[in-house]
């Protein structure tokens, strides 16, 4: 199973059948056979709830996974513009050190905790250069640090500040500046705006977009906020239970979601301005990945589940209903199992085949 992006696009990162396990008495299979391609300069959104494996995936891709986590199988291939492809799992020691942050950088979750509270912003930014550009002289390092802060709209006087003296939004900007330091090809962002107020979040997103236009790096943007991803990503992967269950262009997903989980997730966000519709969320809770179910991980919460779902793990197949770009891991889209295609209600984007009444207080009824 491969997941090629549009033919002819310039791929910077290919992930193939990647599985990650957290070892222990009950090993947790946090990521199970994930594949995707990241095109140069694109924004790939990865959506999913807590425990779906999205952060683990980010750590595996950046080679930042720590024991007991380990890559159990699969491959992460980095394709530089100026050289042969590199298999990240083969990198060790100096080669790995040279790769990390130079090629793939990361913006971590929780701006509050990712910075060292006892070091000034200057020390933390300069650290990147000391480690990766040892040839720079002190004055040059200082200049680069100033440039970096300027890049994200922070005045140079903040170099001497400590993290606690900065607002949440500013700390997040410092983290983004740090990721930009070595002009990477790929920036992995793990919930970069989750803890921020909407207005600040919007500012940070604009900033990221501006920097991306300027430097041309690709972004893997990980968040639980599907409505945000639909807006900012070129392509989108929805994860559930350690797997990608739906993958496609964000615009296509927006018009037609295929996997029942994606459909349910989309129905979990009330529209800010649109019509008031009946919304339900998804009953139940995610699976325990130390005992992954034999079949589809979503079966227990899925209103469309049938017998086969309990024992057949669906492959990520082209969902023929819209076009060639969307793929869904759901037996309803497997022509071998369901030659007639998905049920009408699912096709129409309804999560609940039998919806109940809308909230009574809604302004629509007044």
């Amino acid at each position: 199973m491969t997941l090629d992006s549009t033919p002819g696009t310039d791929v910077v990162l290919s992930v193939r059948d990647l599985s990650v396990v957290y070892d222990g008495a009950d090993p947790v299979r946090a990521v199970r056979g994930v594949s995707f391609d990241l095109a140069r300069g694109e924004v790939l959104g990865i959506a999913g709830e807590s425990g779906c494996g999205k952060s683990t995936l980010a750590y595996a891709v950046t080679r930042l996974l720590k024991p007991p986590g380990r890559v159990a199988s699969g491959q992460v291939l980095f394709r530089p513009a100026d050289g042969p492809p590199v298999d990240l799992s083969t990198l060790h020691g100096e080669a790995l050190r040279r790769f990390r942050w130079n090629r793939v950088a990361m913006v971590f979750q929780g701006a509050m905790n990712a910075l060292n509270p006892v070091l000034s912003v200057r020390r933390q930014l300069a650290d990147v250069f000391t480690a990766h550009r040892p040839e720079l002289r002190r004055a040059e390092r200082e200049d680069r640090c100033r440039e970096l802060l300027d890049l994200v709209g922070i005045g140079p006087e903040r170099l001497s500040s400590y993290p606690h003296e900065l607002s949440g939004g500013m700390r997040q900007r410092v983290l983004i500046a740090m990721a930009m330091a070595l002009r990477p090809d790929v920036v992995v962002m793990d919930e970069p705006t989750t803890a921020l107020d909407v207005v600040v979040q919007r500012d940070i997103l604009t900033e990221i977009d501006r920097l991306r236009a300027r430097f041309g790096f690709a972004v893997v943007f990980i968040t639980h906020d599907l409505s945000l991803l639909l807006e900012i990503s070129d392509r989108l992967a929805v994860m559930y239970g350690g797997r990608i269950v739906e993958y496609g262009r964000a615009a296509d997903l927006h018009t037609a979601a295929h996997h029942p989980y994606t459909v349910g997730l989309l129905r979990s966000f009330p529209r800010l301005r649109g019509e008031r519709t009946v919304l339900h969320g998804i009953p139940g809770s995610p699976p325990d990945l130390s005992r992954p179910p034999a079949g589809c991980a979503f079966t227990a919460r899925c209103p469309y589940a049938f017998d086969d779902c309990h024992h057949t793990d669906p492959a990520l197949l082209t969902a023929h209903t819209t076009g060639p770009t969307t793929r869904a891991a759901c037996l309803h889209y497997d022509p071998a199992v369901r030659p007639d295609g998905p049920p009408e209600a699912l096709h129409a984007g309804r999560f609940d085949p039998d919806p109940g009444p809308a909230p009574s207080t809604g302004g629509a009824g007044r």
């Binding site: 500012d203 979990s268 529209r271 649109g274 809604g362 302004g363």
Partner: protein, 321 residues
């Protein structure tokens, strides 16, 4: 028909800033009403004072000024009076991981308010009441859930326990302070739908404190927008969200993700605050004027509430008739 009336509520915190003394006006002259069977949303960014308002309403924080009346009666002071008041006014907190005691079972958490407020007494009565509460919040089989410890429950289940606990004294007013912001997206609507159903079935008056405009519009009949302790706009939900009158509400609405409809650009020149400090705007005058692209000289003077439409007001000089 119960009414909680809040008039001119203020909370000022003294700040010591080196040798200077300043006052943080966390909540400044806020007035509103909560009525049975209605949800009012209190919307604002972090630090806007929305949690402080909720805490004052449930008497966890003492107001600096202003009055809270329940069915026309001012809330008295003293332990007994406060306990009596809390029978009627209950709160659901933001973090279900912190609001339940990890050492006690679900049953213990529900038994206490039942006994304390004299809703049930005697082992059999209390057990039946616990069972009933758990069933009402869809935690079934209730007998099994009752024996569990918080760590054995998911976040959504824990929040249901917190809601059941708030319902235990049979309150008439329910204050929900960001009840779903710590939960997974797919779980959130279920919890909010539950609160909505309980509101209808039990004629509760609900205050929904949130930073999320979309769920505020979806679940509340009216919305109050809070900015630095002041209500800058209030009115029917659709009015406030679809036709925001205050530049701050416009900014909030334009910043919220909404893939469902085209983005209305934020009014020119508006931006989030850079830096950790509040702007230097002193008391008096519009608190938003430092960020507002439409700021005028008159904004330095105290802004009254101007009517925008029926039941819809904005605290902005642009709306001066």
């Amino acid at each position: 028909m119960s009414i909680l009336t809040v008039s001119h509520l203020s909370k000022h915190f003294p700040l010591r800033d080196g040798r200077h003394r300043r006052t943080l006006r966390a909540v400044d002259d806020v007035s509103f009403e909560l009525r049975s069977g209605q949800t009012v949303a209190l919307v604002g960014e972090s630090g806007s004072g929305k949690s402080t308002i909720a805490r004052m309403l449930v008497r966890l924080t003492r107001p600096t000024a202003g009055e809270i009346r329940l069915d026309g009666t001012p809330v008295a002071t003293g332990r007994r009076a406060v306990r009596r008041y809390r029978r009627d006014v209950q709160m659901v907190f933001q973090d279900p991981f912190a609001s339940l005691n990890p050492a006690h079972t679900v049953e213990y958490h529900l038994r206490r308010p039942l006994r304390l407020h004299g809703v049930a007494s005697g082992t059999a009565d209390v057990r039946a009441a616990v069972h009933d509460l758990l069933t009402r919040v869809n935690l079934t089989p209730a007998d099994q859930v009752a024996r569990r410890l918080p760590h054995e429950l998911s976040g959504g289940q824990r929040q249901r326990v917190a809601i059941a606990r708030a319902l235990a004294p049979r309150p008439r007013i329910l204050l929900a302070d960001e009840p779903v912001s710590m939960l997974d997206v797919s779980i959130r609507l279920e919890i909010l739908n539950l609160v909505d159903r309980l509101k209808r079935e039990e004629e509760l008056a609900v205050l929904y404190v949130t930073h999320d405009l979309a769920t505020a519009r979806y679940f509340a009949s009216s919305i109050m927008v809070l900015y630095r302790g002041q209500v800058v706009e209030s009115g029917p939900s659709d009015e406030v969200i679809l036709r925001p009158a205050h530049p701050y509400t416009q900014l909030l609405a334009s910043a919220a993700p909404d893939p469902g409809s085209p983005r209305t650009a934020a009014p020119g020149g508006m931006r989030a605050l850079r830096g950790g400090q509040q702007p230097a705007t002193g008391s008096g005058g519009c608190l938003f004027r430092d960020r507002c692209p439409a700021a005028m000289d008159v904004c330095r003077t105290e802004v009254p509430e101007f009517p925008v439409a029926a039941g819809h007001m904005a605290r902005c000089w642009l709306r001066q008739p």
